[in-house]
């Protein structure tokens, strides 16, 4: 939790001094190493808390406003919904805010969204805390998320995590010391056929240059190489790292790419057995006429 929680204020409630909001104890990063919190979460949100805690980069005084260009984008989003249901735009607008604000929604960003959409602030907080893809604490420039759902697990997602963990020196929910990478876990992204996979959210280029790319068919070395290319400012190959087109030419097995026997594809060949779907373009055959009985 190096930079994500550089300073944590402990609030001890004192019944006799109600109404006073000063923290009784402030622990800064210099004073102690904050222990990695036990993530007892049911979800894999980046954030540990579902309430706001002040941090140096996210507190009462933090400012946020959309750029002029993004205001245009926001008003375009709002125009997609009926004028009296402006609040419907909250998720896409929060997304824009997150992209502009380097990957996380500060309190100020949430309040700004509430203001833009004429919503009570708490209703925006509710949405932002509910969805795990909204981050509410400081992020690295690249959010590297490892898929942890069953197909990827079976194909070695744990190995991918370990490789990234060893290489970057951070665990899930943590950010590297240089502030470049935040490691995270997420659920199925629908690329099971090319398992295992990671996703990288790129917050370096604002809203215009934002990308959310899948890197599939990964071996642990591939994952490390992708991270290194990102560090060097290059653009790693998006999509499957090992196959050119969608066909069963091989798979990652035990952390290695294993090609299928070339030319002798013996699965999923030939005409599949029935029963087949009826032809949807043709009208159904007319029912045999019942002969009228005399």
């Amino acid at each position: 939790m190096a930079s994500a929680m550089a300073s944590v204020q402990l609030r001890v409630r004192d019944e006799s001094k109600t109404g006073q909001n000063e923290p009784l104890l402030t622990i800064s990063a210099q004073q102690c190493q904050w222990p990695v919190p036990q993530r007892s979460f049911a979800t894999n949100s980046h954030d540990v808390f579902n309430v706001h805690h002040h941090t140096p980069d996210n507190n009462w005084e933090t400012q946020f406003d959309f750029t002029d260009k993004n205001y245009e984008l926001v008003s375009e989003i709002i125009s997609r919904y009926p004028a009296n249901y402006k609040a419907s735009a909250v998720i896409p607008v929060l997304d824009v805010a997150q992209q502009q604000n380097k990957g996380f929604l500060s309190l100020a960003a949430l309040n700004r969204v509430a203001k833009v959409l004429d919503m009570p602030e708490i209703r925006v907080y509710e949405v932002a805390t509910f969805y795990t893809m909204f981050n509410r604490s400081k992020m690295g420039k690249y959010h590297v998320m490892v898929c942890g759902t069953t197909p990827c697990r079976l194909q070695g997602a744990e190995g991918i995590y370990e490789a990234l963990h060893d290489h970057l020196g951070v665990g899930y929910g943590e950010t590297t010391k240089d502030g470049l990478f935040t490691l995270g876990e997420m659920e199925c992204m629908g690329s099971c056929v090319n398992a295992p996979m990671i996703t990288v959210a790129d917050y370096t280029k604002g809203v215009e240059g934002f990308s959310y790319n899948y890197y599939e068919d990964l071996t642990p070395e591939d994952a490390v190489s992708i991270v290194e290319q990102l560090r060097a400012g290059k653009s790693p190959k998006v999509g499957s790292q090992h196959r050119g087109k969608a066909e069963p030419v091989g798979a990652v097995q035990s952390g290695k790419w294993v090609s299928g026997p070339s030319g002798t594809v013996d699965t999923l060949v030939g005409k599949p057995r029935g029963p087949y779907c009826r032809n949807l373009d043709e009208p159904p055959p007319a029912e045999p006429k019942k002969e009228a009985k005399a």
Partner: protein, 666 residues
């Protein structure tokens, strides 16, 4: 569920509440409906014709047991140290539907407690996410501060940021909470509910007359909770009504005090104190005597004081910080003519010089309820957050003139079938009251606010005793204005008098229960009972007479107000013709018969606008100044001696002052 309730069958519930929207998230109210494959949440299921509902089948029992088991998974086993213990819905229902053992071996979750201010204590680990408090804050109180953050088993009820619940009705979430997550902070760890004596009484912190239950132990008021009265307060009370009771234990006057020659007070016997008053009255002429009644005076005391003053030859009677010269001949002129619950029938509302949020928060919740149903609200007065949107028409008598001439608001009121005008207490306290009222009267006539079967002219008051004072004519007599400066002033629980009311050198008697401004000016202090210590009549802003009951004994040597006055009359050789409380009440009924009809509302008679004409001819052509309208209440938490003496109320003021206002980074 409503159908089952009507049929007299109890369905267990946590999230359902008839005054809040339906959430359907606790699942405790599952019932079996014939032809439905699975149990149905009865709170969210509309009853249909011919529907057969089974509430006691094994399936229902099993379903409820299952729900209960899930609810108890994350609920701590801290009932012995929980303030809700003994009156907890979860506890009661767990006794019915809970298992005798748990199957849950994992860790229970723990949640940070939230800081909701000095009134509501939170133990969020106990929360079962019924969202009643969230719905109350959003729907009834109109403060969008509470919500559910997070998801799944990590969801938390709270405000997300450190924020106080900035509502005057926040205490009601304590009653709504079915578990011990939200409890009363001042009441915390002081008593168990089964050792309290319950006394049904009436609140005096504002003119609404909210029905309350005073829970006491021995001589101490431990807490105050609301009592159901659909016509007055539904089941809500304001934070002041609920939490000011600790003021009853501070600054109390418990023995008669007489000022010595050195200027210091010394304890005295009743006879000494009364004789000192007799001495002071020697040589004072009748018209040099003046009496001022306070905000918390009951009708019995005021009639006794009025009778005594009249016997002494004085008609110089005032009600403090009020409008002593208001013509109170016609009752419909100073009452809420629609009635408190009747206001909900209105289809357009105009507020004039009123901030009901401070003057009567529970009544304000009713206006909000109407607004939610689409009733337009117009405001001439200070532009403040009333918890609902309104069309602002200006803040001066000039704006009133403008509305009167021609405006959309006037048109809208005219079109409305049942328009209502609410005049705030601030208007009646203006120096140019007559001129402003004439304009209001003009508006009422022009917009046809009063018509067949509907009287929408309403006056909202801010003090519990005011309507009773007007009803029994506790007003200066016609010749009072010509009286010489008073040499003897009798303060009946009055602390908010103006400097000009008490001339320098006048002999002042203060009769009341708290040592405040009035007592510090007094020469003789007579200790009296507070509203929790006596049975007394109060009339609320709609003209409903209600009685408080004696919940706790009076402290020290203090007496009920009317007793003191009867004793004083005897010492002054002007005995009053009543010696018992019933006799006083008979006398009250002679003056104002409706004061005897307790808990009933005597609807005032409208004299077909004749009163307006009489008012206009009496007041003559007065010009309204262009002073802005102001509410008569600046500080909601401190309006009378009790709330001023309360530490809890002081904490509220402090917390509100230190709070961050609104949004900070935009």
């Amino acid at each position: 569920m409503a159908a089952c309730d009507a049929a007299g069958i109890d369905i267990p519930r946590f999230c359902y509440h008839q005054r809040l929207s339906i959430a359907g998230n606790c699942r405790m109210c599952l019932v079996e409906v014939e032809k439905s494959p699975k149990p149905v949440a009865s709170c969210a299921m509309p009853a249909g014709p011919g529907m057969k509902i089974k509430t006691d089948t094994p399936l229902v029992k099993k379903a409820r047991e299952g729900v209960m088991e899930f609810l108890l998974i994350n609920h701590p086993l801290d009932c012995p140290i929980c303030d809700q213990g003994g009156e907890c819905d979860l506890q009661d229902q767990a006794m019915h539907f809970g298992s005798d053992r748990g199957r849950f071996t994992e860790m229970k979750r723990a949640v940070d407690d939230k800081n909701l201010g000095p009134l509501v204590k939170t133990v969020m680990t106990r929360c079962i996410h019924c969202t009643r408090c969230v719905r109350f804050a959003t729907e009834i109180a109109g403060v969008q501060d509470m919500g559910i953050t997070g998801r799944g088993r990590d969801s938390e009820v709270g405000t997300y940021v450190d924020k106080l619940l900035t509502s005057e009705l926040s205490g009601n979430v304590i009653d709504l909470c079915p578990v011990g997550a939200l409890t009363s902070k001042p009441f915390a760890f002081t008593a168990r509910n089964w050792e309290l004596k319950n006394t049904e009484s009436v609140d005096v912190s504002d003119a609404l007359g909210a029905n309350i239950r005073i829970d006491s132990r021995g001589a101490e008021v431990m807490r105050i909770v609301p009592r159901l009265n659909e016509d007055v307060n539904e089941e809500w009370i304001s934070d002041k009504a609920r939490f000011q009771y600790d003021g009853l234990k501070r600054q109390r006057l418990s023995v008669p005090l007489v000022k010595g020659k050195d200027g210091g007070f010394r304890n005295a016997h009743w006879s000494e104190a009364l004789l000192a008053i007799q001495q002071a009255l020697k040589g004072v002429k009748g018209n040099e005597i003046k009496a001022i009644a306070g905000k918390l005076s009951d009708a019995e005391a005021m009639i006794a004081l009025k009778d005594l003053m009249n016997r002494l030859g004085s008609g110089n009677l005032q009600h403090e910080a009020g409008f002593s010269d208001l013509d109170a001949d016609v009752r419909s002129n100073y009452l809420m003519n629609t009635g408190i619950s009747g206001i909900e029938k209105a289809d357009a509302v105009l507020l004039i010089g009123s901030n009901p949020r401070l003057e009567s928060p529970v009544f304000n919740a009713r206006i909000r309820k109407m607004w939610l149903e689409g009733v337009p609200v117009y405001l001439i007065g200070s532009q403040v957050d009333l918890t609902y949107a309104y069309t602002y028409l200006g803040n001066s008598p000039e704006a009133l003139t403008k509305v009167l001439k021609n405006s959309d608001a006037l048109k809208r009121l005219k079109e409305a079938k049942r328009p209502a005008v609410i005049v705030g207490p601030g208007v009646l306290k203006r120096s140019d009251r007559d001129a402003v009222l004439q304009q209001v009267h003009g508006l009422v006539e022009k917009a046809e606010v009063v018509k067949e079967g509907w009287n929408g002219y309403n006056v909202l008051h801010d003090a519990a005793s005011r309507v009773a004072a007007l009803d029994i004519g506790f007003l200066p007599s016609a010749r009072a204005s010509a009286a010489p400066p008073a040499k003897f002033v009798y303060l009946l629980g009055s602390d908010d008098w103006q400097e000009s009311d008490i001339p320098e050198g006048a002999f002042v008697v203060y009769q009341g229960h708290h040592g405040d401004r009035g007592a510090s000016r007094a020469d003789v202090i007579l200790p009296a009972a507070a509203y929790t210590e006596k049975s007394a009549t109060f009339v609320n802003t709609e003209g409903r007479a209600q009685r408080t009951k004696e919940a706790v004994p009076k402290p020290g040597d203090s007496r009920e107000d009317w007793q003191i006055l009867v004793a004083l009359a005897e010492v002054l050789k002007q005995p009053l013709p009543y010696k018992t409380l019933n006799a006083v009440r008979e006398r009250l009924a002679e003056v104002a018969p409706h004061l005897q009809h307790v808990d009933e509302r005597e609807a005032p008679i409208w004299l077909n606008g004749e009163y307006f004409k009489a008012f206009a001819s009496k007041a003559g052509k007065a010009a309204a100044s262009n002073k802005e309208f102001r509410s008569s209440i600046d500080n909601f938490y401190m309006t009378d001696v009790i709330s001023r003496s309360s530490q809890v109320m002081a904490k509220c003021v402090q917390a509100k002052g230190s709070m961050r206002q609104g949004s900070y980074a935009s």
